[in-house]
């Protein structure tokens, strides 16, 4: 499947002289597929959690396209997104909102998928700018994806080219509403339709060199 030498199966000789096979994809990576994670058993608890989730949006600090430039002003005194419980985290493990900021080249898509999968459920995706909706001005590019929704479950699009920071702030408020109503279940949607997503992803990413799900 892969042609990357470091991921190919190989025979290794242990210090005691024992020879055995190492299959990096099997040995280095967890192979379990994602599962649908139901919310808390008691609805009121889940609502409480959703409320807290909506008030604490941690964005993955990963600028995937040109729209990333619009996120920086949000940290400045003029926009100060922190007021709204929005913060940036440097690691996907701790983030729960992934903003795909503009066009996504297929090369970046692979990284975006990896980062998305490494986030914890529930996790949200916002598509920023027209390019994430239909490819925008790159609608016929050989190198970018057109409809983000086919590859990752998008909760919200913020249209524009580029949308201004104010639009982003409005988008966050919109996102909060969605979360509070309990409709932001992109992660479960992704797990449910895992095969479909993967098929779409693999269609555009030709050098697929990772496990199907990056835990």
């Amino acid at each position: 499947m892969t042609t990357k030498p470091e991921l190919m199966k190989r025979m290794v000789k242990g210090p005691d002289g024992l020879e055995f096979e190492v299959d990096p994809l099997r040995d280095y990576y967890c192979e379990a597929p994602p599962t649908v994670m139901p919310g808390a058993y008691i609805q009121i608890v889940e609502d409480f959690f959703n409320w807290a989730r909506s008030k604490s949006l941690w964005i993955l600090g990963f600028g995937t396209g040109c729209g990333a430039i619009e996120m920086r002003p949000l940290m400045t005194p003029r926009f100060d997104a922190y007021r709204f419980g929005v913060a940036w985290r440097p690691t996907p493990r701790q983030a729960n909102l992934f903003i795909i900021s503009g066009y996504l080249s297929t090369k970046t898509l692979k990284r975006a998928i990896r980062a998305y999968e490494q986030m914890q459920n529930p996790k949200y995706v916002i598509g920023l700018g027209s390019c994430t909706i239909n490819g925008g001005m790159y609608w016929d590019s050989y190198n970018t994806i057109k409809k983000l929704d086919e590859y990752l479950p998008v909760d919200l699009y913020i249209a524009g080219c580029m949308p201004r920071p104010e639009a982003l702030l409005a988008g966050f408020e919109e996102m909060k509403k969605i979360i509070r109503t309990g409709k932001a279940e992109g992660a479960n949607q992704y797990a449910e339709n895992f095969a479909w997503y993967k098929a779409n992803q693999k269609r555009v990413i030709h050098d697929w060199d990772m496990p199907d799900y990056n835990w």
Binding site: C30, S56, T76, D80, Y82, P90, R93, Q94
Partner: protein
């Protein structure tokens, strides 16, 4: 002093008060820092929300047993540190488990959480976690030195290792505080304090982006929630040591709140004013500025 069962609810009460205080004060300090950047900053209750959210995350991964236990060590370290100290001077209720040991116990228990956390981060297998840990350890090894000397100086000054007795000796007016009776030791200790507060200029071990926040890179969900809880308790507990040793201790919760707040603010002030040191730079900083002060403090006491 000895154990009795009532200590257990009292201990829970102490932890409860400190956690809440820690969350609120942490956010307040954050807001003050934001004001320095002309922002409003986070809401005052933001930390509660973050913690609840993190507990509320539905999935989590584990890299292994030590990874799993790392945050447990971390929080146990913070809680233990708090409970091994007489938090409120003269109060039986909030002396907690200080019968188990004196100042030395507190000083060494600081490392309990650090060690566990370092091991947990190590098992994640993430190189950046290890890099962060080594940076932290290297910096702390030198930052601890002036503090240790200051502690020694204070212990010599009061001829005791009992925190209660040290606080008792500082009663009767501000001028009796170690801050004024042994200013050199306090100066050394406060420089060390900066080094242990994970704030600029001594925060290269959690440098975001370069080594995505260092040791906790892999931590998330409830692990992170535990660590956030510890972030509320541990600095307060540590500042309580400083407060008891150098600033006359606290006879009541409000006094404690105020003193801890201002001590915390000190590190925040320095933090917003200065850029970041590299590890060897901070080692040299402590070696050149803080250590001589510490040496001086044990020589003149």
């Amino acid at each position: 002093m000895d154990f009795d069962w009532m200590k257990i609810p009292y201990a829970f009460l102490t932890v409860f008060i400190v956690v809440n205080y820690g969350f609120l004060m942490g956010a307040l300090i954050q807001k003050i820092g934001a004001r320095a950047g002309r922002r409003h900053g986070i809401p005052i209750w933001q930390y509660y929300l973050d913690v609840i959210k993190n507990y509320g995350l539905r999935t989590s991964i584990t890299h292994g047993v030590m990874f799993y236990l790392g945050p447990v060590f971390r929080l146990s370290g913070g809680v233990g540190l708090l409970l091994f100290m007489p938090v409120i001077y003269g109060s039986y209720m909030f002396s907690n488990f200080s019968f188990a040991g004196d100042l030395i116990l507190a000083l060494y228990f600081v490392f309990f959480g650090t060690l566990g956390m370092a091991l947990g981060a190590g098992e994640s297998g993430h190189p950046h976690a290890a890099i962060g840990v080594t940076r932290g350890l290297q910096q702390v090894s030198m930052a601890e030195l002036p503090f240790a000397m200051a502690v020694f100086s204070v212990a010599l000054q009061y001829q005791t290792l009992s925190i209660t007795e040290i606080v008792a000796a500082q009663q009767g007016g501000m001028m009796n505080w170690t801050l004024f009776t042994n200013p050199i030791a306090v100066a050394a200790a406060m420089l060390a304090f900066l080094g242990s507060m994970m704030r600029p200029p001594f925060d290269v071990f959690i440098a975001p982006q370069e080594i995505p926040i260092g040791p906790p890179t892999e931590y998330h969900s409830s692990y992170l929630a535990l660590m956030q809880t510890n972030r509320a308790i541990f600095p307060v507990a540590k500042i309580v040591i400083y407060m008891n040793l150098f600033f006359g201790g606290a006879g009541s919760w409000p006094e404690l709140f105020v003193k801890v707040f201002f001590l915390y603010l000190f590190s925040a002030f320095v933090g917003v004013c200065f850029p970041r040191f590299r590890v060897e730079q901070s080692i040299r900083f402590f070696l050149v500025w803080a250590v001589p002060l510490g040496v001086l403090s044990i020589m003149v006491v």
